[in-house]
Symmetry: C2
Subunit: 532 residues, 2 copies
């Protein structure tokens, strides 16, 4: 036997041995080509907050490097201009109106999962980590969950193997009588509460939570890189959601104030995570996607809100500022570096795309709104028609407010918020006012939608005149798309209608060990009030 033949045999033996190890660890045969998947979802970060997307202070060098090593998608959307429905859509691949993350308490209202919410993500929904598990993936969520905080809704009940983070927004500090502080969980038990064990100094903005979330991510990557099983990491830090916070190391460092400090720390953390993938030698087998849950919260600007760049309004609205998100895909060797794709895409595509990457057939017993973006990402492919010409639907609650098809966006309903709210100082479009567009009553345009060309007019300032051929041509193309969508839509059961003080985080699992259980008040179910 020659030396070469010996070496080949030895390689073969090793491969067989590896295969045996692999299959003994997972329920199903692992597809060793399935890449690891990391979705980095920011909180209330706007399209215009990235240097590579025009933030004048240019303080996101790591995201800039990520884009120059990967693909930038300037036409990427969320499914809803609010945290919870957006996150539910990411993990289900379905519009909120299908997966139940909406309200019917009033027309066209945004709803989410505050502590009083009774509902959460329905058992009828299949979540991304539940699907990935079928092909041997291990899944972890780090950060904000927001799909319901009652025990049956928590991440470890819904496909995740690990969790470090909180079920709700980091609002507070609360008085223990009227509301408990939000718990922070390590897997299935709380390990403390915000403003107690996990400090956020609302005055200075200091908190080491992003640092903790970074460490959780790095630790998980190191551990899983040594495993034979592919991993999914859903990294969802919330430092850019008011109250905005940053570690001491970053406070005061930005030209943009506290909000910029938080962005700088997140940018740094993204850099650390990508570096760890390289350090662990798994970067060529890891797909990473960076985006945000909704547009910047202009209501919190300038100190605690970000920028939506040239787009109109922000969070809570179905204008571009509320729905268009920063988006970068990264996978060295697979996604061509320094590319830009103008594909219309959205957060629900991450569900379908992740399944495609993992080699898993998507569920066939439900309507999915997400498409498989792998032809775009891996082959720079802008067809087939279903991808290139796919519509983007803009919902507020259960109302289809607008539709984008190609460069055109048709608004069927417009409103920012009510006169009552607006006159009390709540403004989702500060400094912006487009007569007949940023209206303070719910204005219906169903019979004659407002149509904008987002290429010429990304700021939605100049409705195309109804009397033009362009308007009529566009309308004749968009109308059947809307009709088909409405005709075939089967709304899910609305999960965000009922609230009750008794369901708040008074006594989460693990509270006994910490001596941090609070008295649960008497149940008082009522319809939640969703003012906008």
């Amino acid at each position: 036997m020659t030396y070469k033949a010996l070496r080949e045999m030895s390689t073969l033996t090793l491969a067989l041995f590896s295969a045996l190890i692999c299959c003994s660890l997972t329920e199903k045969p692992s597809n060793v080509t399935s890449p690891n998947i990391i979705i980095m979802l920011m909180d209330d970060m706007g399209w215009g907050d990235l240097g590579v997307l025009g933030q004048p202070s240019k303080e996101t060098p790591n995201l800039g490097a990520m884009a120059s090593q990967g693909m930038l998608l300037p036409n990427f959307y969320t499914a809803n201009p609010l945290c919870s429905p957006s996150r539910a859509s990411l993990l289900t691949g379905r519009l909120p109106v299908r997966n139940g993350f909406y309200t019917t308490n009033a027309h066209a209202r945004n709803a989410y999962t505050p502590q009083e919410i009774v509902g959460g993500i329905s058992d009828d929904e299949i979540l991304l980590p539940e699907m990935l598990r079928k092909n041997g993936y291990v899944s972890k969520i780090v950060g904000k969950w927001h799909l319901g905080h009652r025990p049956q809704y928590l991440p470890l009940k819904r496909g995740f193997d690990e969790w470090f983070g909180a079920p709700n927004c980091h609002f507070g500090p609360y008085n223990d009588n009227k509301a408990p502080n939000i718990p922070v969980y390590n897997n299935s038990e709380m390990v403390g509460r915000y403003y107690e064990e996990f400090m956020i100094d609302r005055k200075t903005g200091e908190s080491n939570l992003t640092l903790i979330y970074l460490r959780e991510a790095l630790d998980y990557i190191v551990r899983q890189s040594e495993s034979e099983r592919p991993f999914f990491l859903y990294w969802a830090p919330d430092a850019t959601h008011a109250p905005v916070y940053a570690s001491k190391r970053f406070l005061g460092k930005s030209q943009r104030g506290r909000y910029g400090d938080a962005v700088m720390e997140l940018d740094y953390s993204v850099g650390q995570i990508l570096a760890q993938l390289k350090g662990s030698g798994v970067e060529k087998n890891t797909f990473v996607f960076f985006t945000s849950d909704n547009g910047a919260a202009l209501i919190s600007a300038p100190d605690q809100g970000g920028s939506n760049g040239p787009f109109l309004c922000g969070k809570q609205t179905t204008f571009e500022g509320g729905m268009r998100e920063p988006a970068i895909a990264w996978w060295p060797g697979r996604i061509k570096e320094g590319t830009v794709s103008f594909q219309l895409a959205n957060v629900m595509d991450l569900f379908t795309t992740s399944l495609a990457l993992a080699g898993i057939r998507p569920p066939d017993n439900r309507t999915l709104d997400g498409l498989d973006l792998t032809p775009v990402l891996l082959k720079g492919y802008v067809g087939p028609q279903t991808l290139q010409n796919r519509p983007i639907f803009y919902y507020r609650g259960n109302e289809l407010m607008a539709v984008r098809l190609g460069q055109y966006k048709a608004h069927y309903w417009t409103w920012s918020n009510s006169w009552k709210e607006f006159n009390s100082g709540i403004n989702f479009c500060p400094g912006q006012e487009i007569p007949g567009v940023t209206t303070h009553e719910q204005k219906e345009h169903t019979m004659q939608p407002l149509i904008f060309h987002l290429g010429r007019d990304p700021g939605e300032k100049y409705p195309i005149s109804v009397s033009t051929k362009e308007y009529q041509d566009v309308l004749s193309r968009i109308t059947p798309v809307v009709q088909l969508h409405k005709k075939t839509l089967v709304p899910g059961y609305p999960q965000l209608n009922m609230c009750d003080v008794a369901v708040m985080n008074w006594a989460p699992a693990g509270c006994e060990k910490l001596g941090k259980c609070l008295k649960v008040p008497k149940s008082d179910p009522r319809k939640c009030d969703w003012p906008h």
Copy 2:
């Protein structure tokens, strides 16, 4: 004699011989280390029109490459939110209020050089090409001049050796009775007129003028690269000024409509020019600077106006949208690639910086507003204090409207335009309205300026409360800067007060040869009307 000694002697002989050649060609001994200088000045292009500065369609790959090979300056300003004064400032290194490019006909009005203007750049001013000539430079302007169209004001009278372009904006087409079409000059004689020999199809937007301006630039670079003398090229195409135009090859190519087509052609041309520098082997001896004369003309948007990104309002105003400009410096091997400098800088610095690069002492018998940026450009140096903490002055006509110092901007006067104009549909801030800021009367804030932090609030939406310590601290730092500026300011004689139909381009030099002389009407001097 050794071989080494022989070689050294031969080198010495060659150097002496070169020196003789050099000095026989120029009036003064040429400094062979003086680089070529190219200033690319766009017309009405906005900060937000570059992909690298956040334009969502990302259609400027050549400018992106220029920035990644050079330095991006996100805090670069013009000297005035209108074409003529901005261009006069670039070539004199002085504020319009000093060089005479302003009006005293009314308070705080923008003025420029339409065909009826009697004045032009004063003989008392020293222009950049006049200075560069002292050190042997050859200078050419390609494109728009705009410093006065009467014979005594034209480029070849003011230091340029060559010119291909027009003295005024490409407005038209005109009826020969009321107004002549604008002439296009080749050096000191007209070679045709816009809408006649040099077509601009206002309906389709087709014109090959950018292509002609590109060829003029490339031809000049090729010729001068073979010369011993350093060259200056002032490349000033005007395709992004309404009426916006592009060549057939680019029409319909942009996602942004006709304006985007024009931008794409200019971006392509920038790429061609940089490639020619490399092709001619002079890229390591050529300093190139790209910028624009003022903010995007939102009055012409969306079809024929650009984007000022996240900034407030546009051309004609002293808000950031009117004054902040895209800016890229490029010099392979000398300017570090892929850098960003936050230095506050402006178009007048190009005068002083060019002189420094050319090894010429700036004139010492006048106040210069431009600073030498070479420490910033070549050494990434952000000191000394005079550079880092230098103020930016925002003028409208003869009024100091605002001052920027560090991240803070104090408005002493605000207005966009009059109610009368605004109510007739002229809007410099479409879709934007900040109560008390984008005012329609001239509002004085001298005793208590409106102060913004441009890092936290680039859109000038949130004036800092007067009652804060921050406001008082900033005011106490800005006040002496403003006082010193006002105290020492000696305004130049205003050149833009008088208009006369008789001075229009009826019979420019060279018209006889072409049979294109028109009858000069009777002189009727009057004060120009500057409505905003």
